[in-house]
């Protein structure tokens, strides 16, 4: 019985990921990717990794997906721009998949709680491991994130110095000058 706790979110994750790869519109793909990450978080929770599940939701489905939303909205063109008229039906698919996940979470909380509660690796154990044998890895990750920060700032700074897209190319050509 407890095995369904794994197979249901796994199937949801695979279906949502398939929709990510085959979707035509970027924002729809993003919706399905969020569902896929939530399903993966449920899998992690069932496998006794609540800390990884929380990180999956907070960082992957939260922070990284918001970055994608920003960029898609900045590019702001193509079929993913909301047009006036009746609301699109794009929410139905992700909504159904998320409802399945929510139903399973409720089922786990109600009856199958033993699946979640047993043999899990606590966040304290993860933290002790991070600050123990993996301390060098944490330092390397911080250096990597610093490099990412500097790189993104560098790219964004040069992009901003050129002004808004569209206006700048013309302005540079027209305003040539010395």
């Amino acid at each position: 019985m407890g095995n369904y706790a794994f197979y249901i979110p796994a199937a949801v994750a695979i279906a949502a990921t398939f929709m990510v790869v085959t979707s035509r519109s970027a924002i729809h793909a993003l919706l399905y990717l969020v569902v896929s990450l939530l399903a993966a978080a449920v899998v992690l929770l069932v496998f006794g990794a609540p800390f990884a599940a929380a990180m999956e939701v907070i960082i992957y489905a939260g922070a990284i997906m918001v970055l994608f939303v920003f960029v898609i909205m900045i590019l702001g063109r193509g079929p993913h721009v909301r047009r006036p008229g009746p609301p699109p039906a794009a929410w139905i698919g992700p909504g159904i998949l998320t409802a399945i996940l929510a139903a399973e979470l409720g089922w786990l909380e109600a009856g199958g709680g033993a699946v979640v509660g047993s043999a899990q690796v606590s966040p304290a154990a993860v933290g002790a491991s991070l600050m123990g044998p993996y301390l060098l890895g944490v330092e390397l990750a911080s250096v990597l994130l610093l490099a990412g920060l500097v790189g993104a700032f560098h790219l964004g700074y040069r992009l901003g110095a050129k002004g808004t897209p569209g206006a700048t190319d013309k302005a540079q050509k027209d305003g040539g000058g010395p």
Binding site: I14, L75, A119, A152
Partner: protein, 107 residues
């Protein structure tokens, strides 16, 4: 066995789950020509790799898998910030995010 408790999922099924996600992401990277979709598929692949770490470590109830998952998360965060900045550059100069149009280096 896996994860203990009521969960008796064969280890192979957990690994196959991560593998299927990875292959779907790989198919997306290969098939799509939109830079946003390629980055999304890369996220899928990184997520699948992290999942494989955690699920493998859960077999032995070890914390190491979640530690590696955090490292994968850091790599994904750095990669996606740089990648999206590059997409903005591409759109700024080429007016498109079709990577087949970015052929200045004859790649």
């Amino acid at each position: 066995m896996t994860g203990g408790g009521l969960l008796h999922v064969p280890f192979e099924h957990a690994m196959m789950f991560a593998g299927v996600l990875l292959l779907l992401g790989l198919a997306g990277v290969i098939a799509r020509r939109d830079a946003i979709f390629i980055l999304l598929s890369l996220e899928v692949m990184l997520n699948a790799a992290g999942l494989a770490f955690v699920l493998a470590a859960a077999r032995f109830a070890a914390p190491d898998g979640q530690v590696m998952f955090l490292f994968v998360l850091a790599v994904a965060a750095a990669e996606v910030s740089i990648g999206l900045a590059l997409v903005l550059w591409l759109y700024h100069y080429k007016r498109t995010i079709d990577i087949d149009k970015a052929r200045d280096m004859r790649g």
